[in-house]
Amino acid sequence: MKPDNKYCLGIESTADDFGIGIVTFNGDILSNVSCGYIPEEGGIHPREAARHHTEATDKVLRQSLYKAEVKPKDLSLIAFSQGPGMGPCLRTGATAARALASYLGIPLIGVNHSVAHIEIGKLETKSVDPVTLYVSGGNTLISAFDTNRYRIFGETLDIALGNCLDVFARAAGLKHKQGMPLGAVVERLAAKGNKLIALPYVVKGMDVSLSGLLTAATSLLRRGKYKLEDLCYSLQEQSFSMVTEVTERALAHTEKQEVLLTGGVASNKRLQQMLTLIAEEHDAKFSVVPRQFASDNGAMIAWTGILAYTHGLFTPIEKSFVKLRWRLEEVDIPWIK
């Protein structure tokens, strides 16, 4: 440990991943350990996921400290994802965070999960003021900073993009392969498809609606007339075109110079390619969050906790209850001028 450095430990537990990351106050990520809950079938069961997180806490915490070569007494701050997310999962992470902070006698900071996805993307890609497309299993948001807050310019009117891909994958009987998320399985199949099957393309202003597309794709799947590769291809092409179109609208509207892609679905190469094209079109710089920070992780929580804490914020334990529906645009961002 360098004597002049301070460390923050961040805990992420909004959904199926439990992660702990340790980051220095100047933004060096020392460790980022994650453990994912994989349901035997169906989607995430919040109670089961929370049970998984409780059991994983000890192991993930030890590994994260070990990798970072940091001792608990060297920590200066504990950050945790306070929301939005699934109640039982959030509470697991919050409980661990409160315990650590009070045992070590150091401050606690609750972090908004969506803000963290944007901030880790900015840190890792050196973006300054981007239009961000944040796409994951639970969120589909197009946002940009303006006066104190990240404003939401567009979002899904119903289900999230990652959720759309996951539900389709499960309907097709696809399984997680060696830690590969379902979205990646769909991506791999889509790369082998080439026939575009028409699905509902629903863009309303800067918002998108994906539930009709999912229903149409799953019912075509059941009919058995089309190759799964072509359906995956069509699902990706059309849903990605929709979010790309609205991101371009936000870019034209805000006239920002940067586009940032973040969240679990950001790892998808085809989506990256589409956004690269719109960025080029508007002379903007395109960045994508590195794969290890794309899906939910503890490092992004630690880093965002540092930003908040060094700008005068902290969360007293009695106010550290979780916020299941904490919208991005409700959060003040004092670290951007």
Binding site: P84, Y201, G205, E237, A252, Q273
Partner: protein, 221 residues
Amino acid sequence: MDKVESKSLLKKGAEASLFLSSWHGRRVIVKARLLKRYRPRKLDEKIRNYRTVHEPQLMHEAKKAGVPTPAILLVDIKNSAIIMEYVEGKQIKQVLPNVSQEQQHELCVRIGVLVGKMHRHGVVHGDLTTSNMILTGEGKIFLVDFGLGEKTSELEARGVDLHLMKRALQSTHYKLWEDCFRSVQEGYSSVLGEESAKKVFEKISEIELRGRYIEERKQSS
């Protein structure tokens, strides 16, 4: 496109580029929906064609409802381009923050009246942002950019239309949006009648509740 003279790019939007040009001696706007390289060719053509054909039809319908829209001069399907009258004025987006509270109220009520007339006639705009409203020197408000509009009288579509307007006000005019939206609702109700308007407003809340992490849903959960 016949006789379109030297074009100058006025605005590069996300969906289309607007050029200022002259056509048979008139100042015109050429709205060209350019090829989108990110979409598969087939899908891109389908979307651009559909919007190029539908936009003028909707503008025409809106006009019939008493909503000022630019006159359509030519629709060029092959090039996905529309030639229309150039309306000189300022975007409401720029006007709103720079006028008195009474003027804001008056403008927003008038906007509400226009949206009400349009909805009553069976047209939803699909992208009611303050950048898509132009205030002319004579004080008329024109609605433009009907590319995402629809011919429908469904409550759902009307609700989404106003929900998008509310969202646009929140993101662009976050200091004024509450008063502005209330005034829009006032104008809207005066056209549709309290009862029908109330149904649309209730629909807006319902649509918002479908979204994620909404304040109101905290109370019900």
